[in-house]
């Protein structure tokens, strides 16, 4: 198992290098000169040329890539060209906020989704089941910014229960986390429901029931645990969606995270900051994939990574 993990970690390296190259190549083709945009309306062409030289834009793509990777190898992510601040410092400021939001949303989506899906399956075709299914449909269909603004209006403006934005206490985290989790929660609930239903029809479950085992124990110890395998797949895929969804959630709730930082970097063509941010996102995504694969091994004794 340990060797499997090591092999996977080693395999991420070429993937990351490939991603860096892809991002740099894409930025070449996006119109807009970072130097001209930064210096603004009244800049002289000499000033723009000087800045281009300073940030290395006058060198060919391959040279810039080699330069970036060589600095990356010693842990230097470069400096944001707009703010003249080390990218590492920017990431240090924003990553914890996004991480906190992402983990909270994932927890809500998984725990809430599995629970609701399990209940839905156990109480199949009752009013409760139908209610959960309709709510799931709404959750998947509504765009994040709409959900977010509605929650702000209801819980901040009308009920004065929670703050409308910003970061700080647990009460600041609730609304953004719920907003971000909503589509994923809905999807996980549906997946869990069908997976549990399928498992409940299996022979070994009927055997357990005929043995006289307590139905709740049957549900959780046997059915849900085995139903989790397809659910884990969905969760793994949803983690990627959550990373993307943080951008909108962070904007609506004024949450000072990495998603917003990356979007601002795109608008100002701050490619050094952008590369740093995307690199971190890629590492997180690859890490999640690894965790998902390891969870399979835990859940399904038939799978082993020798």
């Amino acid at each position: 198992m340990a060797r499997f993990v090591l092999r996977r970690v080693a395999a991420t390296l070429p993937v990351l290098l490939g991603i860096v190259f892809l991002v740099m190549a894409l930025l070449e083709f996006i119109p807009g000169d970072p130097a001209a945009l930064m210096l603004g309306d009244a800049a002289t062409p000499q000033a723009v040329a000087a800045l281009r030289h300073q940030i290395g834009l006058d060198r060919p793509l391959v040279i810039r890539y080699a330069y970036y990777v060589s600095r990356l190898a010693v842990g230097n992510l470069g400096s944001s060209i707009r703010e003249n601040r080390p990218v590492a410092a920017e990431l240090r400021d924003t990553l914890p906020a996004t991480f906190q939001l992402g983990v909270a949303a994932l927890a809500i989506a998984v725990v809430g989704g599995v629970t609701l899906g399990g209940i839905s399956a156990a109480r199949r075709n009752t009013a409760l089941d139908n209610l959960i299914r309709v709510a799931s449909l709404v959750g998947i269909s509504m765009p994040i910014f709409w959900t977010g603004l509605v929650l702000i209006i209801v819980f901040s403006l009308w009920l004065r229960l929670l703050p409308p934005g910003g970061i700080g206490t647990l009460s600041h985290l609730i609304l953004p986390a719920v907003t971000l989790a909503a589509p994923s929660l809905a999807l996980v609930a549906r997946m869990a429901r069908s997976a549990v239903l399928e498992v409940l029809g299996e022979d070994y479950v009927r055997t357990a029931h005929s043995k006289g085992a307590d139905p709740t124990r049957v549900l959780f110890r046997h059915a849900v645990r085995n139903a989790l395998i397809p659910v884990v797949t969905v969760v793994g895929l949803q983690a990627g969606q959550l990373l993307g969804g943080t951008v909108i959630t962070e904007t609506v709730f004024a949450w000072p995270g990495m998603g917003r930082m990356i979007v601002n970097a795109i608008f100002s063509r701050d490619f050094v900051l952008l590369q740093g941010g995307i690199l971190v996102l890629a590492v997180i995504a690859l890490g999640i994939n690894l965790l998902v694969d390891l969870t399979y091994a835990y859940l399904d004794p038939r799978i082993s990574y020798a």
């Binding site: 996006i30 119109p31 807009g32 000169d33 001209a36 945009l37 210096l39 603004g40 309306d41 009244a42 800049a43 002289t44 062409p45 000033a47 000087a50 707009r82 703010e83 003249n84 601040r85 920017e90 400021d93 924003t94 910014f145 603004l149 702000i152 209006i153 901040s156 403006l157 004065r160 703050p163 409308p164 934005g165 910003g166 970061i167 904007t251 609506v252 709730f253 004024a254 000072p256 917003r260 930082m261 601002n264 608008f267 100002s268 063509r269």
Partner: protein, 530 residues
């Protein structure tokens, strides 16, 4: 004896009334203390004018760094760190510094500090971002400890306005040398507030300087928060999370105006939004076509329906508060008149085609229009309205809305493939030189310049260049009036609206004075009546 008792009683009564009266007036006096929380859409890039000339930065650092002069709410030059000045020659102006002022780090403000600030900004190898806005400033000469001369490389009329720009705050040389790049995250100046803390993309807080040389602030602290979403900003005001909102959603303003717990304040701004025309691309070079377009566009109805009272009518290519402004009488010269528009097109040789589109020599009158979105209020929507109105007189407009970075690179390119472009021009110096020269002088062509319309009129060039060099305000006004009259006749662009600086805040926030410049936020005199 009774008279004496009466007299004593009378005196006591007067004394008590006097005390009571003054206590009554205390209720309306400025209450010291408290924190003002302000919400704005984006964070500053830096708090050092060397790197930051956008509003989110200037709003904050103007309370920390002070220039030699400032522009007041009527855009007139007033003393700040300089108490008086004398124009010695067309290229040399002498400034007498205020004595006894210290920076927040305790070091004294003297001529050396002023020289340091300007040398830093006008360093030829790494100039500050505001250097190109300040005109031909060559150097600063130290005359004595509290006197400096600012020297320009050629005769320059608007020198005082350049010195009064929000970016020209004097920095502490000791702090800059000690802190290096960290100075841009924690500036040290002479202002009524000192820097406290900056959490990126989240909040910047500044605290009252009890040692300030001038009228000390009433507030203990000001916090600038970042809330990107427009409606979230106004909701934060309604729940009391913030006390003051910058760039509020225009649709929310009428609701706040009716609510006694809040106050809506505004003042006409200095930025004109207009539709520029590319005179290098036929048929835009034909003045009759340009005039037909302005006759066909109902400018008032466009911005009234899209923006209501949140903007005002443009009376020319400059805002009224700019020195040298002349009303272009656009409504008198070019009233909304579709019939006149069609007549002008016919004069230019166009006849209506089968589908209603004007054509000349078998070619339909199709114009390409490029605009950004969200750069200025309703910029994209204005283009749509114009497209519909031009269709009514037989002009077919192919309208494109692109992301601002792309539009910027298109407008700055050596050639422009569009006939029409939505553009805007703000004037941080408050002087017509910056308002007109970079945009209408024929030598200021892109990529370096901003004459995106490729407009060329030698008489306008002469007037603008003379006005730039003259140090006689009356003469300059005359020349600018002449230039604006010619521009009104040639019509290289169609002004649509003049921005308004809109603010909405809680009713207990007192002492705020709105300033026409979008870069300036006069909150240092604010107190909280809570």
């Amino acid at each position: 004896m009774r008279t004496l008792t009466m007299a004593v009683v009378l005196c006591m009564a007067l004394a008590i009334t006097g005390v009571a009266g003054s206590m009554g007036s205390l209720a309306f006096a400025q209450k010291p203390g408290g924190t003002l929380t302000i919400a704005r859409p984006t964070d500053a890039v830096s708090l050092d004018p060397q790197q930051e000339t956008t509003a989110p930065g200037t709003w904050v650092y103007q309370l920390i760094l002070e220039p030699l002069l400032v522009l007041d709410t009527h855009m007139k030059v007033q003393p700040k760190l300089a108490t008086s000045w004398k124009v010695l020659s067309p290229t040399r102006t002498r400034f007498f510094l205020r004595k006894g002022v210290r920076f927040h780090d305790g070091t004294p403000v003297n001529a050396e500090a002023v020289k340091f600030t300007y040398d830093r900004a006008f360093n030829p190898t790494s100039p500050g971002r505001w250097a190109s806005l300040a005109g031909p400033i060559a150097r600063v000469d130290v005359v004595d400890d509290s006197t400096v001369d600012i020297v320009t490389s050629k005769s320059y009329g608007p020198i005082l306005n350049s010195v009064a720009m929000p970016y020209a705050g004097i920095v502490s040389p000791t702090a800059v040398q000690k802190m290096g790049t960290q100075f841009s995250r924690a500036p040290v100046g002479t202002g009524p507030f000192k820097f406290e803390e900056w959490r990126s993309n989240n909040r910047i807080s500044i605290v009252r300087d009890p040692q300030y040389w001038g009228q000390k602030a009433y507030l203990d602290k000001i916090v600038f928060r970042v809330i990107p979403e427009e409606s979230a900003r106004t909701i934060a005001l309604q729940t009391g999370e913030v006390d003051f909102v910058l760039q509020p959603a225009p649709t929310a303003l009428p609701t706040f105006a009716r609510d006694k717990r809040f106050k809506v304040d505004s003042v006409p701004g200095l930025r004109i939004v207009s539709i520029g025309m590319n005179l290098s691309l036929p048929p835009m070079n034909d003045v009759r076509v340009r005039r037909a377009i302005i006759h066909a566009v109902n400018r008032h109805s466009i911005f009234q329906s899209l923006l209501g009272d949140t903007v005002i009518d443009a009376r020319g290519v400059l805002a009224p508060d700019i020195f040298g402004f002349a009303d272009m009488q656009l409504d008198k010269l070019y009233p909304y008149d579709k019939a006149k528009a069609k007549d002008l097109l016919r004069e230019a040789g166009y006849t209506p085609g089968p589908d209603g589109i004007m054509q000349r020599g078998g070619q339909p009158l199709t114009l390409k229009h490029i605009s950004g979105r969200g750069r200025v209020p309703k910029d994209a929507e204005i283009g749509e309205a114009v497209q519909a109105q031009l269709r009514e007189v037989g002009i077919d407009v192919k309208y494109e809305v692109q992301e601002w970075g792309r539009v910027f690179s298109l407008l700055k390119a050596a050639t422009l493939g569009y006939h029409l472009f939505t553009t805007h021009w703000g004037v941080p110096t408050g002087d017509s030189d910056f308002g007109l020269f970079p945009v209408f002088d024929s030598k200021q062509l892109p990529p370096p310049g901003w004459n995106t319309a490729r407009y060329s009129n030698p008489r306008v060039d002469k007037a603008l260049e003379e006005a730039q060099a003259s140090i006689d305000p009356a003469k300059r006004k005359e020349l600018y009036a002449e230039a604006q009259r010619l521009i009104a006749q040639d019509l290289p662009e169609i002004p649509i609206y003049n921005t308004r600086e809109n603010f909405v805040y809680a009713a207990y926030v007192k002492g705020f004075v709105p300033h026409p410049s979008e870069y300036t936020l006069l909150v240092h005199g604010v107190w909280l009546q809570k």
